[in-house]
């Protein structure tokens, strides 16, 4: 490890070399590329159901549509590829396109390829799919219930993983503890949702079979073998190429991989290169998501607040399929289950379940927010119960600075740190002492003011082997062992002396190239501007390894070390060359300002360019030990990252940074809105390679943390209809929602790598939700679950059920074939005719046809059963629906029940209604009705805000028409208006 003071460039807050191209529109992203001629464009037909059997797909009409090359369905995919494997060898088959059954809203069902995206989308509507809806299992709670429907028949249960672990003697710790406190939560799903969506360009060539795919996949390249195995080709025949620029990822672009396989197969089947650019609706519905997790955590505490034992029960919802690298979310923190605390006795029960939600994967923080939230809430619960200050209870339990390196009970080795000082500094940054006073004042005035703290260990540079903790020691013994976290870098100097560093770290905007140049420039004594850096990866031409890719903060902790080693080695070579040229001993040569010069007092020098060029131009004359040309491949492979041991202890990461957030909030009594008043965030990330970029990562991580705390949730209704389907419903924070933050650092460099950097990037995204929730709980004296939206906070303040909508609830046991978003209502109409007249008209098919808005045909099947084709349109939204209606329980002329369902272009729905007629004065009739309907599909997802109003409107339209020549009055003004409107020349 070098001390940064010696460096000229590393540690400087330099501007980024990436920016000039990005700021002028010259950077090239996946959708800007046309790497091959004759590209055609794909659009994907997606499931409107959360859970259904596919009975039939007929693509004939779509295949004949203008500009269409062809249509590929799940059956084709199953024929031309193998299921995508995951670490747990489950019987469930996961293909990138539904085969036989759909298991989440938005799951691919078929792919259309056409001359352009517009034409491809046109043809989607021409594919006829017949579904048989199945009862959905949306909430992980219900997935645990053996009575629930099963997603994967081959598995027979929705619980796809279970393991228990025990470290130290937790039973003893709990048996003897003075206090046991507990906390339970359901951590919701969030979505990193970068502004650039997924993109794939796939081309298949025959003889030999070879796939070339350009995509913004970011790694980990452990997934490459998963993809090549699925495609049935040796790995060199799946060539992955990343574009020069990638528009953000935060992990989620790991989830591009099923689409890589999908488009590869589509290209093969149709014999054309295919481009697919995901749109935002596809992204929000069907890219990936962080897991949601049910946690029950218990802590055994002493009177003095010492945490003596921890018990965790975690149930991870991985969505419809266990997709690689899951269940990694559940195991990322496994080596560090004690968090920043000294607790030695830990018991864990892990389970993973499948549900009818989108499959999960990497998203900023990957498994850490789900873990730190309950832990940090528990610490506050304990502090409250024991009457200890929230900062104090943490100070009493933190690992002490003299205990580093600290061997965690479950295997991680925390390299260095000073947790006490970090928290102290964070309290300073937020002005803790003043905040306590402010809180007193605010409370005296009746305001709701709270302070929250969160502390997190940030694990960086993942050990390949941690995922194997999901397997038992016996299972591991049977499979091939996994371990390590290597990174490589290649440094070449070409015949004209130009320096090129190739790292293949597939950044998504983090500025890797800038830092790589800083590191290499220091070693080689040149200006970073003179170094070319290649960060994109081509798996055929570049060196890559299984750990390659951009995840788990591995760039600063591993990739930069590889760069440093490569540059050092090249520097050594240059020194040998210079020694010969300048007639000095190699240890008397220094590299600086682009020159190699002697340090023996003679002060003579030679340009580095010239030295390097010589290795190409004059290869025969090189000193011994210097081969021709300069091309140095260096690998940084930390040997400490061994696989899990017999006791299931796993060193899950290379380095362990630490951060503390201290936040003060005020909650508006009227609305429950949370205002962040003060925010201090202190990070110990070891050496900072580029402080300006560090700051950028902290701000960005905080935005994700604030988003997850206050706004963001990937939400489904109980029937599995996606509610957060647009950017109007998935609420990312904007500039106006971001608090000001006081950021500070302490520095405990690590010895685990060459630059002493500990990695960062997840940062506040891991802990802001816990810190803010702690503050809100402190303010209102109650627990609120995430996200802390005004309505939830207000509901909690008033002791009401938190979730504004019916919280996840069990869908009806008898599956309603067409269930979906629920709308309910009732109404009343007075008609100027006696009940028997009204009754007769209600049962008269002709009258019904006239009254039902948009009814094109109505067929009477006898026994009060009708089928109809109805064109529903509200502001042009709607389309043609095929409806079946059955009247039941007829009591002439008093009441009947009605049940029906409809399927159409934009979705489907079903409902029941009760209609009663009562005689009113003057020969009039009062019609009362109540209804409950469920709507599903696209319109329910996109238009859920408007559905209930639209339903009311349609009913009002029905009665307006129905009573048009009878005369009547409604309980709502709307009916009168509608009648006027109808009378005014329409209908």
């Amino acid at each position: 490890m070098s001390s940064l003071e010696e460096n000229r460039w590393v540690g400087q807050a330099t501007e980024r070399r990436e920016d000039a191209a990005l700021l002028t529109g010259n950077a090239r992203f996946i959708d800007d590329l046309e790497p091959i001629a004759g590209i055609r464009h794909a659009a994907i037909l997606r499931s409107p159901h959360a859970h259904a059997r596919i009975l039939r797909i007929d693509a004939t009409r779509a295949e004949q549509a203008p500009g269409v090359t062809g249509v590929v369905t799940g059956q084709d995919i199953a024929q031309l590829s193998r299921p995508l494997a995951s670490a747990l060898k489950l019987a469930a088959k996961y293909y990138p396109c539904a085969v036989g059954k759909v298991r989440y809203f938005g799951e691919p069902v078929a792919v259309v390829v056409a001359a352009d995206r517009y034409l491809a989308e046109d043809a989607l509507a021409l594919i006829d799919v017949e579904y048989e809806p199945l009862p959905p299992v949306v909430d992980p709670k219900f997935a645990l219930d053996p009575a629930s429907a099963v997603l994967h028949d081959e598995v027979g249960s929705n619980v796809v993983h279970r393991r228990t672990f025990r470290y130290g003697d937790p039973e003893q710790a709990f048996a003897t503890a003075q206090h046991i406190f507990s906390y339970s939560n359901h951590h919701p799903r969030v979505h990193s949702t970068p502004i650039e969506t997924y993109g794939v360009i796939a081309n298949f060539e025959r003889a030999p079979d070879r796939y070339t795919v350009w995509s913004n996949f970011q790694g980990p390249f452990t997934i490459h073998p998963v993809m090549s195995a699925a495609l049935g080709v040796p790995s060199q025949r799946l060539r992955l190429i990343s574009p020069p620029a990638s528009g953000g990822s935060f992990g989620i672009k790991q989830g591009v991989f099923p689409y890589i396989v999908l488009m590869a197969v589509v290209s093969r089947k149709l014999g054309v290169p295919v481009k697919w650019i995901e749109d935002r609706l596809e992204h929000l519905a069907a890219s990936s998501s962080a897991t949601d997790r049910l946690t029950d955590i218990e802590g055994a505490f002493s009177d003095g607040g010492e945490l003596l034992g921890l018990r965790l029960r975690q149930t991870e919802n991985v969505g419809a399929y266990m997709r690689a690298p899951e269940p990694a979310s559940l195991y990322r923190m496994h080596g560090t289950l004690n968090g920043p605390y000294r607790v030695r006795h830990i018991a864990v029960e892990n389970a993973a379940v499948v549900t009818n939600q989108v499959p999960t994967g990497l998203n900023r923080g990957f498994g850490a927010p789900q873990y730190f939230y309950p832990l940090e809430r528990l610490m506050d619960v304990a502090a409250d119960k024991l009457g200890i200050d929230k900062a104090d209870i943490r100070m009493r339990n933190f690992i002490r600075s003299d205990e580093f390196p600290y061997d965690c009970p479950s295997g991680s080795l925390l390299d260095s740190g000073n947790y006490h000082n970090t928290l102290a500094l964070a309290m300073n940054a937020a002005g803790y002492a003043e905040l306590l006073k402010e809180r007193d004042t605010a409370r005296a005035e009746g305001r709701l003011f709270g302070i929250g703290i969160g502390a997190a260990v940030e694990t960086s540079g993942s050990n390949m082997g941690y995922i194997n903790a999901a397997l038992t020691a016996e299972e591991r013994a049977k499979g091939s062992p996994k371990s390590g976290g290597a990174a490589s870098a290649t440094l070449t100097i070409d015949p004209m002396g130009s320096i090129v560093v190739n790292v293949g770290s597939t950044p998504n905007g983090q500025g890797h190239a800038t830092v790589v140049a800083q590191v290499a420039a220091d070693e080689l004594g040149v200006d970073p501007a003179s170094i070319e850096v290649i960060t994109e990866l081509d798996t055929l031409t570049d060196g890559w390894s299984i750990t390659s890719g951009n995840y788990a903060n591995r760039f600063s902790v591993a990739v930069t070390s590889a760069v440093k080693i490569a540059a050092e080695n090249v520097g050594q070579k240059l020194k040998l060359l210079a020694a010969e040229a300048l007639d000095a001993s190699p240890d008397k040569i220094q590299l600086a300002n682009g020159h190699a010069s002697t340090t023996d007092g003679r002060n003579i020098s030679i340009p580095i360019r010239r030295l390097a060029a010589q290795t190409h131009w004059n290869a025969v004359a090189l000193p011994a030990g210097v081969p021709a040309g300069i091309r140095e491949v260096a690998v940084f492979s930390p040997l400490s990252l061994t696989g899990p041991d017999q006791a299931d202890r796993i060193r899950s990461s290379l380095t362990y940074a630490f951060l503390c957030d201290v936040v003060a909030v005020e909650v508006d009594r009227d609305s429950g809105r949370v205002h962040i008043r003060k925010y201090g965030s202190v990070h110990d990330i070891g050496n900072q390679l580029n402080p300006a970029m560090v700051k950028g990562q902290i701000w960005g991580g905080l935005a994700h943390g604030v988003g997850a705390a206050l706004f963001e949730q990937l939400a489904y209704d109980p029937q599995g209809v996606l509610l957060s389907s647009t950017f109007a419903d998935y609420l990312c924070p904007t500039a106006a929602e971001m608090p000001d933050v006081n950021i500070d650092h302490i520095c405990s460099p690590t010895k685990a790598n060459r630059l002493g950097a500990k990695g960062m990037g997840d940062g506040c995204s891991m802990i802001a939700p816990a810190a803010i929730a702690n503050a809100v709980a402190d303010a209102i004296g109650r627990d609120v679950s995430l996200p802390l939206t005004p309505a939830r906070v207000w509901n909690a303040m008033h002791g009401k059920s938190e979730a504004p909508v019916e919280a996840m609830q069990r869908p009806a046991d008898a599956p309603d074939a067409m269930a979906g978003r629920k709308v309910e209502g009732k109404g009343l109409v007075v008609v100027q005719a006696p009940p028997d007249v009204v009754w007769a008209r209600l049962l008269d098919p002709n009258a019904l046809q006239n009254a039902i808005p948009g009814c094109e045909t109505l067929q009477d099947h006898g026994q009060h059963s009708y089928s109809a084709r109805i064109a529903i349109s509200i502001a042009g939204i709607g389309g043609a629906y095929d409806a079946r209606v059955q009247l039941k329980d007829l009591k002439a002329p008093e009441s009947f029940r009605l049940a029906g369902h409809a399927t159409g272009d934009l979705g489907f729905g079903s409902g029941t209604a009760l209609v009663t007629l009562t005689p009113a004065d003057d020969g009039k009739t009062t019609i009362q009705y109540s209804y409950s309907a469920a709507v599903g599909g696209r319109v329910a997802s996109l238009g859920h805000r408007l559905i209930s109003g639209a339903t009311k409107l349609l009913i009002a339209q029905f009665f307006a028409r129905f009573t048009k020549d009878l005369g009547g009055s409604a309980d709502t003004g709307i009916l009168t208006k509608l009648r006027a409107w109808l009378g005014g020349g329409r209908s």
Binding site: R117, Y118, E121, D122, A125, D279, R280, L281, D670, S671, G672, F711, A715, L723, S724, A728, D729, L731, P733, T734, A736, E737, T789, P790, A791, W794, N795, K800, P804, V805, E806, S873, I874, A875, G876, I877, L906, V939, L942, G943, H944, R945, L946, S948, G949, A950, K952, L953, A956, I974, K977, L978, A980, W981, G984, G985, R986
Partner: protein
């Protein structure tokens, strides 16, 4: 996310526009700012056969002022209205506009388009309703003026007939000794309101209420007016404000959705109704003291 195919017509006059609407009937669709329609087209929630682009109609982007009020033409952009000094005579629209979307969407979105669109949570239909404004509709058959209360029928549904174009919205000038206020609760700035409230009041010389209109949006299928007729003649007081809060809560039956339960909306409706009432009264009193 690309629109279904449509034909395009670009009328250069209102006569041409209504001729096109008359010809295409329900297959035709006006595009004004496209800030609502654009997304609906891209999502293929709507697929009109013909798009009638009114943006180049000569003179349609004018704001006219006379004694009775302001007439805002069909293509007047929200951002232009916000800047226009003539609209100082009808302050409620100016109060509401900053809540409508963002700087960038106001650059293109129109006043009339928002009202024609009739989103139940939108600000401008509420402002027009509370201002007691009206909509001027034109078709080949002629022109009619429909009061806001009659125009706004339900979710995305208005009294406009297929062959009619909204050629203007009419905003009466605020009388002397009057005040108005607009406020809303949205999760983030620029979002559609969970609850929006607007008030317009006038006082007589002794300070008693001579007219009062308080309305809410986001709480039903269309913006609504709270029945406040019994408060005319009252002197503004805490009691009157409480009464407004109560009436607001009693006059709505909102829905529950992902962001807010019906109960929460009802609660907020009361708070915001009271808030805008108080602010409007304050302004009326200040205005009166300046007269």
């Amino acid at each position: 996310m690309k629109p279904a195919p449509f034909a395009y017509v670009r009328p250069l006059s209102i006569a041409e526009a209504v001729a096109a609407l008359g010809e295409h009937g329900s297959a035709g669709r006006i595009i004004a700012g496209g800030q609502s329609l654009g997304a609906m087209l891209n999502m293929r929630l709507v697929a009109p056969k013909v798009l009638v682009d009114i943006n180049r109609i000569a003179g349609a982007n004018s704001i006219e002022k006379d004694r009775t009020g302001i007439r805002v033409g069909a293509t007047v952009r929200q951002s232009d209205a916000l800047r226009h000094t003539d609209l100082n005579a009808t302050p409620l629209i100016k109060e509401a506009l900053p809540h409508v979307g963002h700087f960038q969407t106001r650059n293109r979105g129109t006043i009339c388009g928002s009202i024609a669109h009739a989103d139940p949570s939108a600000e401008l239909p509420l402002a027009l309703l509370v201002s007691d404004g009206a909509v001027e509709l034109r078709s080949k058959r002629g022109t009619r003026i429909v009061a806001a209360d009659d125009f706004l029928v339900s979710t995305l549904t208005t009294a406009r007939r297929e062959d009619e174009m909204v050629v203007a919205t009419l905003w009466p000038s605020a009388p002397a000794r009057s005040g108005c206020a607009f406020d809303e609760f949205a999760i983030r700035g620029g979002d559609y309101a969970i609850v929006a409230a607007a008030a317009q009041v006038s006082l007589d010389a002794p300070g008693n209420i001579t007219s009062i209109r308080v309305g809410l949006a986001g709480v039903g299928e269309r913006p609504i007016l709270i029945d406040t007729s019994q408060l005319i003649g009252d002197k503004p007081s805490d009691g009157v404000a409480e009464e407004i809060m109560d009436r607001a809560r009693r006059s709505i039956e909102p829905i529950s959705d992902m962001q807010a339960s019906a109960e929460y909306r009802t609660h907020l409706a009361g708070i915001f109704a009271r808030r805008v009432f108080d602010a409007a009264i304050r302004r009326a009193q200040e205005g009166a003291s300046r007269v």
